[in-house]
């Protein structure tokens, strides 16, 4: 019997640990006498600390240390979870210090205390006297771009992080060839990841004088480097351990707590100190998703062919660069494999404002541009009096497309099939007919939106992933990876891959879920939907290597050539007949204990992926709009994905469910709000920030169009982020279909819908 596990609904390898409460997250490890670290945050969006007096705080019994910007290294560092670049020009902007003298958003980190318990730490914070010189806050990108705008970072000439863009072809020329020119403007809002586990870490100095940091991070190896840079100490002196984490969605692809945490433990002689952000802190002082303003100018021919588009974008980056302009560039890049344009001009500008720093969040700039682009496409189709699906189909690129800027080639593309499937699932034609002439208070409508995405960051980022396998005495194996399980299920699919290659059952693959930079192979971590694709290939290579070594060992034992052998169901078998030669466990014992030939079998590989596979997909949505109240309800929603080969359908469906539900929140309710004058956060908690509850979430339909991408380890492509991309525009287009009102901004909250309906004289 062949153990054919790739493509099967294998149960998560960590499910039992998680349903029994045994899975340990950062806060679940108890160090003796753990101290509490708390942060003094600026109440002003833009201010300079004139005077700071910590003497009263220091004098409070139970306070072990108080640090201000004066007590931490003055090293500027960048926090984004990007691979390091040896080329200084290619590095992220280094604009932070561990604590700051200048507050750049409400919540910025001025000082920190270490105390024996929470209450004492909180009391100590109140005892720190700070005198601020309050500066004019810059709260919108438009204000930030003004000629004489106050500088948020004085060391730069203006508030622009970057305005680097590109042009393919010549849009002005192409516009001349176009029969029609369409222009639209769109806007998205600041949203937050809201992973259920807040950012948390603890740190101590071990017996070898090394700093050990246990952190809820997606990027332990990168974290080690950044802590080293921030503190100005050798990277090897830092050890980062990542246990189970309660979600990240990109927010833990950034180094938020760890440098300060390291500084705090050093300040108390290496005793363990924990920083456990409250939800209210986590929502402002980690990262958010960039709000974008987009302008599109698009030339189209009479027969509905896209010719050129000029895209202008303003990205609101908040107070610190974090991932900065990479977000805008990712947006400008990842939409390209979808539609054919003769020319594209992309003019983005990423600016600082005195708001919380924006960083990576599921699909990295693409939900924003796709909301805009797919809304724009819908508007154009309607103006052309064309069926919006037909209009899109006419312009799809498909297989064989080679990106003129990055050289990535589309080797598999199922977008046409995705559209056909989605259309059928939602019963498009019949419902379209049914909803034609509605006049009531509650109106229904259908919408759809497409997307393209990448698998990993090649060629922008170095795509390095390590995997190590050890054969145990009983024929089972340990798999170690530097890639991180953050809930998406990577450990499970890696186990499946090893089982598949090695011919052993999944439960004989023990995935070491914890990453420890002292032990785990190097890998940059969970982001860009890269792990199943990039790390997956490393895992496959490691498994192939182990297999080869095992079969060679058996050759030595039996004189049966390795080529004649295979492994099936944990037995060594003849390849031609499947007849069992001996159990794998027997070989394994020999590798450990044969007095002459013993040599335990391991493999340790790395994959530097210089390929990238494009994934595609589509959302179809049906909404019901209450014209009088402005309430929009998603009645049905289907996401159809071409993510290549699906390694584990159950896990894959789970990714889509979660992404779509996030997309629904993005479309309808989620938005971080700040006081317009002061920049104070208004809704940084889970009651006032409206992520969907179970009652707000409709049934989410999922389907896959399985293509095979030759560059993926098993034909697979990205899936983690893509589901969150297209729901918002599909819902927006459905609302347009239902009401005739074209929204240009998300979320479409009842208040906004009401205002638009009033404009449209619907109420």
């Amino acid at each position: 019997m062949t153990v054919n596990v790739v493509g099967k609904r294998v149960k998560r390898v960590d499910a039992v640990a998680k349903v029994t409460g045994k899975a340990k997250y950062t806060d679940d490890f108890m160090e003796r006498d753990m101290l509490v670290g708390k942060i003094l945050r600026s109440p002003y969006a833009h201010a300079i600390v004139k005077k700071i007096d910590v003497s009263k705080a220091k004098a409070l019994p139970g306070v072990e240390a108080v640090l201000t910007y004066k007590d931490v290294p003055d090293n500027k560092y960048a926090t984004a979870g990007h691979p390091y670049s040896l080329d200084p020009k290619h590095r992220d902007r280094e604009d932070r210090t561990i604590l700051t003298k200048k507050a750049r958003f409400v919540g910025d980190e001025i000082a920190a205390v270490v105390a024996t318990d929470d209450l004492t730490a909180e009391k100590a914070l109140k005892l720190i006297d700070v005198e601020y010189e309050v500066l004019e806050p810059v709260l919108t990108p438009e204000d930030a771009l003004k000629e004489n705008a106050p500088l948020i970072h004085e060391e730069y000439d203006n508030n622009i992080i970057s305005d680097f863009g590109y042009q393919i072809g010549d849009v002005e020329e192409s516009f001349k060839e176009s029969d029609y020119i369409f222009e639209d403007e769109f806007e998205t809002s600041i949203v937050q990841h809201c992973h259920l586990e807040n950012h948390i870490s603890y740190a101590y100095v071990d017996a070898d004088d090394r700093i050990v940091i246990v952190s809820s991070t997606q990027i332990p190896h990168i974290c080690r480097r950044i802590v080293g840079q921030a503190l100005g100490i050798p990277w090897g002196r830092i050890r980062v351990i990542k246990p189970y984490i309660g979600g990240g969605f990109g927010n833990k692809q950034d180094v938020c707590l760890e440098p300060l945490n390291a500084a705090l433990t050093l300040a108390v002689g290496g005793r363990p100190v924990k920083i456990d952000l409250s939800r209210e802190e986590c929502m402002i002082a980690t990262r958010t998703r960039h709000a974008f303003k987009y302008k599109f100018k698009t030339g189209v021919s009479k027969d509905g062919k896209l010719i050129a588009t000029h895209i202008t974008a303003i990205s609101n980056n908040g107070a610190y660069a974090s991932h900065g302009h990479s977000i805008a560039m990712s947006a400008g890049t990842k939409f390209r494999p979808l539609y054919s344009f003769k020319s594209i001009k992309f003019d983005p500008v990423t600016v600082y404002t005195n708001l919380p720093a924006a960083g990576a969040m599921r699909a990295y700039g693409v939900p924003q541009i796709k909301f805009a682009l797919e809304s724009h496409m819908e508007n154009i189709a309607r103006k052309l009096n064309m069926d919006p699906i037909e209009f899109r189909r006419r312009n799809l690129l498909g297989e064989g497309y080679v990106d003129p800027l990055n050289g990535n080639k589309v080797l598999s593309c199922g977008i046409h099939e995705c559209i056909a499937k989605g259309k059928e699932l939602i019963n498009w034609d019949e419902k379209k007919e049914k909803y034609k002439n509605q006049t009531g208070i509650k109106r229904r409508g259908l919408g759809m939106a497409c997307f393209s995405y990448a698998s990993g960051t090649h060629p922008v980022g170095l795509e390095l992933a390590g995997a190590r396998i050890v054969l145990n005495q009983d024929g089972s194996v340990q798999l170690q990876i530097g890639a991180t399980e953050i809930g998406q299920g990577s450990d499970t699919v890696f186990a499946q891959m090893v089982a598949e290659v090695l011919g052993i059952p999944v439960d004989m693959v023990h995935v070491v879920s914890t990453q420890d930079t002292d032990i785990s192979p190097f890998d940059t971590g969970a982001y860009a939907s890269r792990q199943t694709y990039v790390t997956g290939m490393a895992v496959k290579k490691a498994a192939l290597e182990i297999k080869e070594k095992i079969l060679n060992f058996v050759w030595g034992m039996t004189d049966i050539p390795a080529e004649a052998l295979d492994i099936e169901d944990a037995n060594i078998v003849y390849k031609h007949s499947g007849e069992v030669v001996m159990p794998l466990s027997k070989v394994a014992m020999q590798t450990y204990y044969d007095t002459v030939f013993a040599k335990p079998i391991t493999s340790d590989t790395s994959n530097n992926a210089r390929v990238n596979a494009m994934s595609f997909g589509v959302t179809f949505a049906e909404v019901e709009v209450d014209i009088k109240t402005g309430k929009i309800e998603v009645v049905e929603i289907f996401n159809v994905h071409d993510s290549g080969k699906i390694i584990n359908p159950q896990l894959a469906e789970g990714q889509v469910h979660g992404g779509v539900s996030m997309g629904i929140g993005y479309a309808l309710s989620e938005e971080m709000l700040f006081d317009e004058k002061t920049g104070k956060p208004l809704n940084n908690n889970l009651l006032d920030y409206k992520l969907p509850t179970i009652m707000d979430t409709p049934d989410i339909g999922v389907a896959f169009v399985e293509t095979h991408d030759p560059t993926g380890p098993f034909g697979n492509k990205s899936l983690g982020e893509p589901p969150a991309i297209s729901p918002a525009p599909a819902i927006r287009n459905a609302v347009l279909d239902a009401t005739g009102v074209a929204f240009d901004r998300i979320p479409m909250t009842p208040q906004r819908v009401f205002e638009k309906f009033k404009e449209a004289k619907l109420v």
């Binding site: 109240t629 707000d696 109420v763």
Partner: protein, 293 residues
Amino acid sequence: MYNVDQYFEPETIDEATALLAEHPNLLIIAGGTDVLIKMHSGKIAQADLLSIRKIKFLETIQKRQDGTLSIGSLATFTQIANDPIIKENIPVLKEAALSMGGPQIRNVATIGGNICNGATSADSASTLFALNAKLKLQTQGGERVIPIEDFYLGPGKVDLKPGEILTEIVISPEDYQDYGGHYIKFSMRKAMDIATLGVSAICRIKNGVFEDVRIGLGVAGPTPLRCQEAESFAKGKTVSAQTLAEIGKLAVKSTKARTSWRASKEYREHLVEELSQRALKVAIKNAGGESLA
């Protein structure tokens, strides 16, 4: 860890009022779902608590012989949602109770706390306003009974005198018998949300005519409120779409909505007009009237 120094947990109301008289700084805590949230946020920096949770008789929901309904201040929202007396006599309060928070909150949050917290968004308040509920407030020396409308003074401000404990919410038979009602909580989410607007409408109908209409609103002003003009207009009018439309318009007149980041004044007023009609439509049906299209 909340910053709590003193903590008392009396088992009788007399002990409780005595303690309150003795330590005027004590903060009453019932379910704690407002008090502890305020302590977490720093709105209350430190507190000495008087827990009334052990005073079991305050959990009682009963119908007296004369038909008066009495709801103990410690009754939780889950208890109210499941209570047969509530379901049979004032199902509109059950609707309100179920709209509140989520199950774990309803399992501990009390109706007394909901009222004494003084929020205009309190989900029980608009219905209790519509039902002309009265509050029984007890001190060491005695007790007083006041209409709920008089209890609310301003945002987060109630007429709870030093030493007083809310013990009972009382609803007279003439205020609920033969009425049908409906509560609409308009919020951004279907659970775990604070109302953008709460509308509770009750009515009594005879031969197609409104004998009485009472509309309580939450978040339409700094306190919950009643729509007096709309109510007086409705009395004696035929149940019809036109009457409803007029009621909707007049309801807005009683409001004192303001613009906040949650919603604009204009939108809230628009919602009042629309939702008071919608609530009333269902209330009409529940009162045995003909349903309007």
